[in-house]
């Protein structure tokens, strides 16, 4: 009994230490955003020594025209996630369960794309988008991001589909279900843990992405949140408090979504347990 609670306390201590390490930079950001522009450059203390300047958030909110950029970011992120989950779950099902000529070669050719360095292909990608006519549009962000997330999503989905007992597939086939139906009704719902993982990862990727929209977007009305935050950083010198407040505002939705995603994530995991 006491042995068990000792163990719990040790675990707790380790987790608390790690929590502190995880939280410290975020606290630093909050602290820096509450300092005035002079103090933020001069002191490295975590929180402001005298007054806490909450007004900065209101200023930045107004300057940032938060809602517009927020909608843009939601738009881009949402369609990226939908695209990634549906396109690659379907493809992975074919790779995991069906047999067709050239299967292995296509799969590995596809996986190899994961290692293509993103920075290298920036200008070639610009050329491609120009010829496709999707430059300076949200579609021009969504398509490459979906495609970029493809190899990993495909890999993960295929792995999960492999881990689902083959009998399920056999019995569904015996019942006379079509292949699309088997994917849609059985495999996709069973792979919700994978969906959750992929969603979380790509949510972050597409929400925070900076270089791609920086090069592809010219029209300010289409800017995403991280770009809008960069607009705050365009003065003669860097106003740390403004920059930190802007970043916090842009991160806040991610933290909120995460809070709710956790629930969904656990549900997805429990539905994955049916497989026995």
């Amino acid at each position: 009994m006491s042995n068990k609670s000792l163990k719990q306390i040790t675990i707790m201590a380790v987790l608390i230490v790690w929590s502190a390490i995880c939280l410290y930079p975020l606290l630093w950001m909050i602290g820096a955003s509450l300092k005035n522009s002079q103090e933020v450059m001069q002191s490295y203390s975590l929180f402001p020594s005298e007054t806490w300047h909450w007004g900065i958030f209101v200023d930045v909110w107004n300057k940032l025209k938060f809602f517009k950029y927020f909608t843009n970011s939601v738009n881009v992120t949402f369609f990226t996630l939908i695209g990634v989950n549906f396109i690659y779950s379907l493809g992975a099902f074919a790779f995991a369960k069906l047999d067709f000529p050239g299967k292995t070669a296509i799969f590995y050719g596809f996986l190899a794309m994961m290692f293509v360095p993103g920075i290298t292909i920036l200008i070639p990608l610009y050329l491609t988008e120009y010829y496709l006519g999707i430059l300076n549009s949200h579609l021009g962000l969504i398509l490459p991001m979906v495609n970029g997330a493809g190899p990993f999503a495909m890999f993960l989905f295929r792995n999960y589909f492999h881990s689902i007992p083959h009998e399920i597939y056999e019995s569904a086939k015996l019942e006379g279900s079509g292949l699309f139906r088997i994917w849609w009704r059985i495999y996709f719902p069973l792979s919700l843990p994978a969906v959750a993982t992929i969603t979380i990862m790509n949510f972050l990727g597409s929400w925070n992405t900076l270089v791609l929209p920086m090069v592809m977007l010219t029209n300010k009305d289409l800017f995403t949140l991280p770009l809008a935050v960069m607009l705050l950083d365009s003065g003669v010198f860097r106003q740390w408090n403004v920059l930190m407040a802007g970043s916090l505002i842009s991160i806040a939705p991610v933290i909120l979504v995460f809070f709710f995603m956790q629930k969904y994530y656990i549900q997805g995991l429990s539905s994955g347990a049916i497989k026995s």
Binding site: L135, P189, M214
Partner: protein, 482 residues
């Protein structure tokens, strides 16, 4: 029962998503187009109400990379619109890295706007004929041509030295190989110069150090030491992280002053040795100051901004900058009476200790030759670089104009006083940009940056660093011959 219910729900949700996805994907472009049409229409109607007889409904787009300049261009654009009814819309893309990315990318598909700013240099940012060539236009109007500060225009003009370089380089495009002397692919909009040392007068007085310009580098270092002794603050700060700040803003100019043009040219052309006594000071200076602890801790990782901030908050007595730096200090809250400035000091025994730092063009405006409204864009640049346009621009952008404004009283007093402190007479230094610019093009100078950082951190002596530099030069020279 329950199972099929959830399945049905899933399919419905999924179908909705897919539908929305396709609709949004298809609809988005149309919506964007519709949006821009709307704004155009509304602007047109605005024009109609303003002017009974619209002379033109041309709209030009201009890209820029400096937020501080934007009010200047807006002021000129407003006036230009009143006269010609041509709209010039400016778009600022920051930071510099992002702007450069954007311009490079846009250039590859001829997607550059009607007008764009670029860093100064002969045929820089001209993208194989994308840039409009100005020499005929300028020669047809000598009065206008002569109104530019000669050094500003010279920095934009293709010289024989440039052509020689391009002819030698096999990798360069045919278009650049076909260039001719005296062509100009962009007009300078401002002037400025590096080689400026700023001092914190408050700190200097506190340490009992005179606030005038030191006669030599040696005297200057003594003053730094006094500051360090009396106040504990660092003597000198510059951005140790950004390559070429020390090299291009200070060391090369000092080397030229110390040794004269011949020896300096030899060094830049891979015919001299850094480890020779006459050039070693470029690294020795860093070593001496590092040993005497005259640099602030962590200087090796400071950006230009951060270096300015460190100086502005009083943590270093002197700072390296250019004419454009002063505005930063006042933005950072320094009072102008607390800032002194002088030209980078020369070493004792220099051959040419009194060379003036002639200002050159910093930023150029380029007209895109491949757009529909080249004529209007050319007219805009002509208006901008007229006396009237330059006054409007300079006062609103707080920038030193590239044109010698005759009626100085129209300029903001601060700009006027900055201008009067600069000498505009051409000299060898201002005329030989291609030699100086090897700092940016020759690989050995990339190596120099690394070596400089090592010396700064005390992990390499100045002598060893210089030898390593010379070794790199020898290798590159061998490559050159192949």
């Amino acid at each position: 029962m329950k199972k099929s219910g959830t399945q049905f729900k899933w399919i419905t949700i999924a179908l909705c998503f897919i539908l929305v996805f396709t609709l949004a994907a298809c609809g988005e472009k149309k919506a964007a187009n519709a949006g821009s049409e709307n704004t155009e229409n509304s602007e047109k109607s605005e024009n109609n109400t303003e002017n009974v007889n619209p002379k033109s409904d041309v709209k030009l787009t201009m890209w820029g990379f400096k937020v501080a300049f934007d009010p200047g261009f807006k002021a000129v654009a407003d006036e230009f619109k009143k006269r010609t009814d041509v709209t010039v819309e400016t778009q600022i893309i920051t930071p510099d890295d992002a702007y450069n990315q954007k311009v490079q990318a846009a250039a590859t598909v001829n997607d550059l706007p009607d007008l764009y700013l670029y860093w100064n240099g002969p045929a820089a940012g001209s993208f194989d004929g994308t840039a409009y060539e100005w020499s005929q236009e300028l020669n047809a109007n000598p009065e206008w041509k002569n109104s530019f500060f000669p050094s500003a225009l010279a920095g934009q003009t293709v010289a024989q030295a440039n052509i020689d370089e391009w002819q030698k380089d096999e990798k360069i495009s045919q278009w650049l190989k076909d260039r001719k002397v005296d062509e100009i692919f962009g007009l300078p909009i401002d002037v400025g110069t590096f080689y400026t040392i700023y001092g914190n007068a408050k700190l200097l007085k506190e340490a009992g150090v005179p606030t005038d310009a030191p006669a030599t580098v040696e005297e200057w270092i003594e003053r730094m030491k006094m500051v360090k002794e009396k106040t504990g603050k660092a003597g000198f700060v510059f951005s140790g992280k950004t390559d070429s700040v020390y090299e291009n803003w200070m060391a090369n100019f000092q080397d030229y002053m110390k040794n004269g043009e011949e020896s300096f040219t030899k060094l830049m052309n891979r015919e001299g040795n850094m480890s020779d006594q006459q050039h070693l000071q470029q690294l020795k200076f860093i070593e001496d100051l590092a040993k005497a602890k005259l640099f602030p801790d962590g200087m090796v990782n400071l950006d230009i901004d951060q270096s300015d901030q460190l100086f502005a908050r009083g943590d270093a007595a002197y700072s390296l900058g250019g004419t454009f730096t002063f505005a930063n200090f006042s933005a950072l809250g320094m009072k102008s009476e607390d800032v002194i400035s002088f030209r980078v000091p020369a070493y004792a025994g220099s051959v040419k200790p009194d060379v003036t730092a002639v200002p050159f063009g910093l930023v150029q405006l380029i007209v895109n030759n491949k757009k529909k409204h080249v004529k209007e864009a050319v007219d805009f640049v002509k208006f901008l670089t007229s006396e009237e346009g330059m006054v409007l621009y300079a006062n609103a952008a707080f920038d030193i104009p590239s044109v010698n404004v005759q009626d100085k009283s129209k300029l903001h007093p601060a700009i006027e006083s900055m201008l009067s402190s600069l000498s505009m007479e051409d000299n060898w230094w201002s005329q030989n940009g291609p030699i100086r610019d090897k700092v940016f093009t020759n690989p050995e100078w990339r190596k120099f940056h690394e070596l400089k950082q090592k010396v700064l951190l005390g992990s390499l002596t100045a002598e060893d660093a210089a030898k390593s530099f010379d070794g790199t030069v020898a290798k590159e020279k061998a490559n050159e011959k192949k």
